[in-house]
Amino acid sequence: MDEYDELFEVPDDFDDQFADELDALAQMEDESSKLGSRQKPGPGDDISDIEHLLVDQPITPKAKRQKQDAVRVSKRLFNSLQTQESKAPSQSDDITPPSSPEQYEPSRTARSTPAVLDISGFATIPETPRRPPTAAPASLHVLRRPPLDGEYISVTDSSGSRVYLRQKDDTGTKVVESRMVPNSQGALGLLAVPISVMREQEAERHHHRVVEESQRLSELLASSVNDVFVEPESREDKENDDPEDTEGQTSRLWVDRFSPRHYTELLSDDFTNRCLLKWLKLWDTVVFGRERKSRPARFDRQAPNQNSFKPNQANPNPNRFKSKIEVTEELLEAELDQYKRPKYKVALLSGPPGLGKTTLAHIIAKHAGYNVVEINASDDRSAEVFQKRIDTATQMKSVLGANERPNCLIIDEIDGAPAAAINILLATLNKKDGHGGEAGSETAKKKKKKESLLLRPIICICNDLYVPALRPLRLQAFLLNFPQTQPSRLAQRLAEISLRQGMKADTGSLMSLCEKTDNDIRSCINTLQFLHGRGHKQVDSKTIQCISVGQKDQNKGLFHLWQEIFQLPRIKRKRIGQGFEEAPGSGGGAQRFQHILNLAYSSGEYEKVSQGLYENYLSMRVRDPNLQSVCEALDWLSFSDRLNQVILHGQNFSLMRYLPFLSVTFHFLFAHTHVPRISYPHSQHEAASRLVSCKNALCTMLADIPACIRMRISQLSLTLDMLTLLLDIICPKLRPVNPQLFSSREKEQMRELIDTMLAYNLSYRQDRTPEGQYAYMLEPRVEEVVRYPGLPPRRQLTYQAKQTISREMEQEKMRRAEQLMLQRNPVVKEKEEKKIAGPKPTRNHQQRLENIVKQTTVETRPEVDFFGRAVAPKPQRLQTSSDTGEKCPVLSMGTAVGNSDVWFRFNEGMSNAVRRNVYIRELL
């Protein structure tokens, strides 16, 4: 750390601003220096197991073993070498970032100003420094190339750079020889060939190989396009060393090979990087137990500092997004919660694909000292599995393996996860600590539910921030939107990669590649690799324009597509010296044709596209006096409709390919230089929903029409012929008087009206209009089905008339229901008829009472006279006599009761003690 600071002599404010990054860097430094210090005491004192093995078991030493042996030593040597060379820019700055500090420092020292620290965002990628063409002086004993004469040992450090040590007949070999000697001298004859001969052979073979290699190398160098730039032999050599690795290397995608391994190599926007890092550092308190550095004065100093360093940065973005930046900074400054966690437990990165979101998350997590656990769309993300994985990642820790670092969960492609999984994530975020505040009984109760609260950072990555499932998460997450990568940075990186791979590419063409791929890093590099794989050694803008590979399956959105279709491309001025071709749609007819076709193909939503075209084409400003193009367009539309029908009906999806030609036709028919005003196509959807509501109204109406009428009408005849007239018929002229005062003819009319309405299942319902007035509406709302805008309104009944009709209808309905009920129980009906026919309405009750009385008497008799068989005849006689005797009072009582309309009967356990049959008819 000290060393670091000395080297850097960074200004205070800088230190302040980038404290977290520096922390991260310093931390790495510490770790690796620890590693280094362990190595320092030399192989004798502190040797690894392998070294032990090597020493203890004297085997015929091969070059490889020796190499391994020498690694540690050489590292030190190399280090010293580097420090010696530190003034000269000799460091082979690999794209693959060196991870050891020894390597790191020199490159740092090479750039002495903090502006070059790659944080400013402008000077960005360190141009690969040119190495002096000659190898290191021989006196150093460390060679950058394998020596042509004599044996050597190649030494690779952990970052992959390789140096060569000249092999001398020194102690190492002596030891080996001394050990070997007894063996050979013992003449045991274990070896068929004496070891010395074998060694000679081996040496010769090795020499041969080296010569071959060097020849090949020189050839390669000669053929290398860029004379100044020398390919790092180290890589080549390494590849030569083991063929398997070579294969692996070449088969690997460049995207992986040249992916950043270090924070400073990230291509993404610096502000974003910094924010994420800061957020992650907020976790330090809880994860690592480190106290957060208190920077009380920081926020006050912030504003001037920002101003002071921004000009240096020369980054156009910060000024524009200043307010947003401030907001984000504030978020990051917010206090930790009660568990010393940051306020936002989860960071949500969003942005279009290929900007390096996943890379950023991985690198930052690694730099902040975490072990990365990733869940992405390739994993099962059903709720249970997701829960399990989150728990595993956040609460456990790997015990096996060397890295005992805490986990950092990265959930990639979260926008595709089901809502259930996201809810689980939210639940995890909001978990409260049960052991802290709550009482013991409660914890016991909730023991099952209670889990420890989230103590690990979670980073989520998505393309589309506004997926509905993410909505709850959005509120709780630290949102970081990825801006576009700067094309200059990307082009620079691309240039480096192409140089490394021996491709010749000028900045202009690389810029055009960037533009073509919308600054998608992945797509750019893949395209480069593709070109390389096909043998292109030179990339110029023409090739870039011609290939269709780099083009993403871009999903530009429908409005963009419609706009492209309806707008003639502007003629772009050719940019001088840049080698830009014209914009893709601006050329001749064929080019435009291709362009529109491509766009239409890639959008995929042919249905929506054609709807949009249909809705907008008539409002385009096109001179079309004879309506020829309109006719043609409509012919095309009806063709595509037919096509669609065939596709869907016959499931003949191979015909789908003809659908996008519709867009091309519209482009050639209606494209205009003006910027078109395009509206989103709603009308078809609106029409469909209105059609559905109309149909529903008709269906409800039809559903309850009695069968005898229902069978005569169908939905079609109802709409076409009947409904309008029917609605006229049910609006007769009614005198605004009480229906009781109607004349007989009017009553008849009323009756018919109500009959009709009931037959056709229409009724009036009182409704409150939004203005607060009451109105009677026709119940199945069929009025809407037949009324058209702009036609003279039909005659409507007055409110009063409707009210009258409504009331009459209710009565009629009740009457009918009662009738129906009577029909269903004919007994009641019979009684009813009797009652109507009979002059005395009380007879019923009388009869019933008599029955009751009779029953009781009959029932009580046998009970009383049950005892003994001998007495049986006697009581019978007695019974008859008593029966006749008793009858009179009972009857008289019955009539007494039955004389009144109301009668009482006690039913045990029942509450309807008082009852009387009342019919609706009597009330109406």
Binding site: L627, C631, Q684, T719, M722, T724, L725, G790
Partner: protein
């Protein structure tokens, strides 16, 4: 049963008001106690259904008029539930399979087969077959019609089908050949007038013959419409006057106005307005072919004789496409635009000829 339409509907073949010859033929057909499958077709409002019900009554007696509505749920092979209403008596079953939309094939297969497969018990006292009445056969999909073919032959013993449609053009040949086709043409104007007068007489009203004629013309000889119009007139104003204006259906008025709009101006803007009106018609459940037909009729009456053949040709062309496609609005608009183009060219040519 209070609409005149329902009140005075003839219930037996003998009481039919017109096409009496056909009625006697039907009577003779039923007399022998059996008949083949029937395909009754004719324009709407001609009295197809009335005739069929009369026929059934002749066949089975008054029991046919005891109707009940049954809600049936059929599960399609795709586990989709289809709900359909049937109207049934003890002797017959009436289904409108096109209510099920695309799934009408399933309805045909399941529903009709179950009816057809069940034997009538007590065949000594009853007819040994039931009748299945399918309405709106012309709106059946081809699949459903093919499903019907074999059923018709196989279950001839237990079931007779009566198909009811407005035209035979959409009924596939195999079905047409399996049925006895009975065409029910529209009544003539006089016949409509007679019916109207007799109904009014029964109601105790006096209908001036001029008004009767006017109504029958306005209704397009559609008897259902004519009766409703007559009743609407009665509601409007009782002591009928000869020159009373007869209420007409709104959609026809709207369609006429649309046609006038097309003729009066031809421009993309007008086309947009027409599109809105066409949408309006479509959303009010007016079938697109009816719109097309109405539009052509109106346009033809408005344009010059020279153009008529061409317009009719275009109409046929786009109507065909309309039937093939699924988005009616495209085809309707295409026809409109084509008409506009033709009409405009014709007018301009005419103007040029006038000038020189």
């Amino acid at each position: 049963m209070s609409l005149w339409l329902d009140k005075y509907r003839p219930t037996s073949l003998g009481k039919l008001d017109y096409h009496k010859e056909q009625a006697t033929q039907l009577k003779n057909l039923v007399q022998c106690g059996d008949f083949p499958h029937l395909l009754v077709y004719g324009p709407s409002g001609a009295g197809k259904k009335t005739r069929i019900m009369c026929l059934l009554r002749e066949l089975y007696g008054a029991g046919v008029e005891k109707l009940r509505i049954e809600h049936q749920t059929i599960v399609a092979p795709s586990k989709k539930k289809i709900e359909i209403n049937t109207i049934a008596s003890n002797y017959h079953l009436e289904v409108n399979p096109s209510d099920a939309g695309n799934q009408d094939r399933v309805v045909i297969q399941e529903l009709i087969k179950t009816v057809a497969q069940s034997q009538q018990i007590q065949s000594s006292t009853q007819r040994e077959f039931k009748v299945v009445l399918l309405t709106e056969v012309d709106r059946l999909t081809k699949d459903a019609q093919h499903a019907l073919r074999r059923t018709m032959e196989k279950y001839m013993g237990t079931c007779r089908l009566i198909l009811c449609s407005t035209s035979t053009s959409k009924v596939i040949g195999p079905i047409r050949s399996r049925c006895l086709a009975i065409r029910v043409p529209l009544p003539s104007t006089e016949e409509v007038c007679n019916v109207l007068t007799s109904v009014c007489k029964k109601e105790g009203l006096l209908l001036p013959p001029e008004l009767a004629k006017q109504i029958s013309e306005k209704s397009g000889r559609n008897l259902r419409k004519a009766l409703l119009m007559c009743e609407a007139c009665r509601v409007q104003q009782y002591p009928f006057s000869a020159d009373q204006d007869v209420p007409v259906t709104d959609w026809e008025v709207y369609l006429r106005e649309t046609a006038n709009a097309i003729v009066s101006q031809q421009s993309p803007q007008r086309l947009l307005e027409v599109r809105a009106r066409l949408y309006e018609l479509l959303t009010h459940c007016i079938p697109p072919d009816v719109i097309m037909k109405g539009l052509v009729t109106e346009l033809l009456s408005n344009c010059d004789g020279q153009l008529k053949t061409e317009v009719a040709h275009m109409a046929a062309y786009y109507e065909h496409r309309l039937q093939l496609g699924s988005k009616a609005i495209y085809h309707l608009e295409a026809f409109t635009a084509k008409f506009m183009a033709i009409y405009k060219k014709f007018m301009e040519d005419g103007l040029d000829a006038m000038m020189f």
